[in-house]
């Protein structure tokens, strides 16, 4: 109810007070149709999603094995945890200037930022999941004659999976935010000559044409993609963990 009412208020208020460029729902919808029809918006989203998936995959491939090792072997945790805890508080966007310096303003820098952002939630949750496994389950496996590595594969991995799933979901949200930020910043600093993606598209609309309606379309698209990514991941995780209640 309230969302509809707000949309209505926004529309009337915008039409009465604003000039023809003020974003109001009808103009936003028109701009959205235009951007979709021309293929600009889908292309930008696909570009951004490609970077997110690449960075996310890199992060997961590094973070899950590392987290499992840290959660299973005290020595590994002791020696690696200081590095994780030292870099975790540094926001991924802060690394962006370095990434640009090292990799330029193209896709590799964006992928690096995403991987960096996604890495920490996955590691932290994997470690927590591996450590929270009930000790009797580990004991049960040991009494059936499984060695340490087999126990990790057959007990620690499935036992930590729910927690890893939580980490992946958080990481996906963070990764999507990071790609928008990275593309925005690249757009802002490298001008229009950057490498595309939804974030850069927004910046171009701001800097070169002040297309406010189009900016709002992009914002809505950012929100919708974030929702879709979370749903997708949640569905996937539920599929892989049928034993979880609910």
């Amino acid at each position: 109810m309230l969302p509809l009412a707000l949309v209505f208020v926004w529309q009337t208020w915008g039409v009465i007070t604003g000039n023809p460029r003020t974003p109001v729902p009808t103009r936003v919808v028109a701009a959205a149709l235009q951007l979709i029809e021309s293929g600009e918006l889908p292309l930008a989203i696909v570009q951004s999603l490609g970077r997110v998936f690449a960075g996310f995959a890199i992060a997961a491939l590094l973070a899950i094995p590392l987290g499992l090792a840290m959660g299973s072997f005290r020595r590994v945790e002791r020696n690696v945890d200081p590095l994780v805890e030292s870099f975790r508080p540094i926001a991924a966007i802060a690394i962006l200037p370095l990434a640009i310096l090292w990799l330029g303003t193209g896709t590799p820098a964006a992928v690096l930022i995403v991987a960096y952002a996604a890495f920490f939630p996955i590691v932290v949750n994997t470690v927590a999941g591996a450590k929270r496994i009930s000790p009797t389950l580990l004991r049960a496996a040991a009494t059936m004659g499984l060695n340490r590595f087999k126990v990790i594969r057959t007990v620690v991995v499935p036992g930590a999976l729910p927690s890893i799933g939580v980490g992946l979901r958080i990481a996906m949200g963070v990764a999507w935010t990071a790609i928008v930020a990275a593309e925005l910043a690249v757009g802002a600093k490298a001008g229009g000559g950057g490498s595309g993606g939804i974030g850069q598209m927004m910046f171009v609309f701001y800097a070169y044409s002040i297309e406010l309606n189009r900016i709002v379309v992009c914002m809505i698209a950012v929100g919708l993609v974030a929702l879709a990514l979370d749903r997708l991941l949640r569905g996937g995780l539920r599929f892989f963990m049928p034993w979880m209640a609910r």
């Binding site: 002791r78 200081p82 508080p89 802060a94 200037p97 914002m219 950012v222």
Partner: protein, 259 residues
């Protein structure tokens, strides 16, 4: 507690050892690549930190960013906590407001930057708006969850004792929801601290994010790294002090803090 203090000592040793190895590797790689713009040596970075600290520039920029964060945190709390309390207490209000929240929440604070740039221009208002927005949702959701999680039995007990509604809220609901509220504030701060860098990088004439970008354009990488380190240190310190604060105000809630 002999065991825990000796293991804490071991942790410190492990920390020093690991960081020493890290810095040694960094040094070796930087000497090998010998490109001071791409990868300065650790010592160049330390030198930059010392210089920037002596000029006070490091602290000035940090102070600006921290100040913005404080203002944003205050604004976000002022908006989100009362709203969260009301939403937690009144189902009907929650049913009305929640859809709007769920519509806005997926749009990250950073996605607001272009529109906010147009509205506020470059200056203090932009980062404060973005950070307030970023902190708002975690605090709101945490407050609602905290109020929802209050044991009904406690409220009923107070009601059977004839305590008036307003007093029940201030003396039962708020204290019982406090632990999760403090966790929510911590999450909000973390989220706004991430946003500050992006906001300052793009749309502010000062602050840590701005400084990082400024020195990158000058290709003064040691200074870039110095400010990045400052961002990490301040992020860590705010989180640690908020934890300590929570420990002081809600010593009974050990679980909530471990998150």
């Amino acid at each position: 507690m002999a065991i825990s203090s000796s293991s804490r000592f071991g942790t410190v040793i492990a920390y020093v050892r690991t960081m020493a190895v890290f810095i040694a590797v960094w040094w070796a790689v930087s000497v090998w690549t010998s490109n001071l713009v791409l990868l300065p040596t650790p010592f160049a970075v330390i030198e930059a930190i010392v210089d920037l600290a002596r000029d006070l520039e490091l602290f000035v920029q940090a102070g600006i960013s921290l100040g913005r964060m404080m203002i944003s945190l205050a604004l976000a709390s002022l908006l989100a906590i009362p709203l969260g309390l009301l939403m937690g207490l009144r189902r009907t209000l929650d049913d009305i407001v929640d859809p709007v929240i769920e519509l806005l929440r997926p749009i990250s604070g950073i996605a607001w930057i272009p529109l906010a740039l147009f509205i506020f221009g470059i200056g203090n208002a932009l980062p404060i708006f973005i950070m307030t927005y970023a902190a708002f949702f975690p605090i709101l959701l945490g407050t609602v969850a905290g109020v929802r999680g209050v044991d009904r039995g406690l409220i009923d007990a107070a009601r059977t004792m004839g305590v008036p509604r307003r007093t029940i809220v201030t003396r039962v609901v708020v204290p019982a929801a406090l632990p999760s509220l403090l966790v929510a504030v911590r999450l909000g701060v973390a989220s706004s601290w991430t946003a500050v860098v992006a906001a300052e990088l793009i749309g502010a004439p000062s602050g840590l994010g701005y400084a990082v970008e400024w020195y990158r354009e000058l290709l003064m990488t040691p200074q870039v790294m110095a400010f990045i380190a400052m961002i990490g240190v301040l992020g860590y310190l705010t989180d640690t002090s908020l934890r300590a604060l929570a420990q002081r105000f809600t010593p009974w809630a050990a679980d909530a803090r471990r998150m």
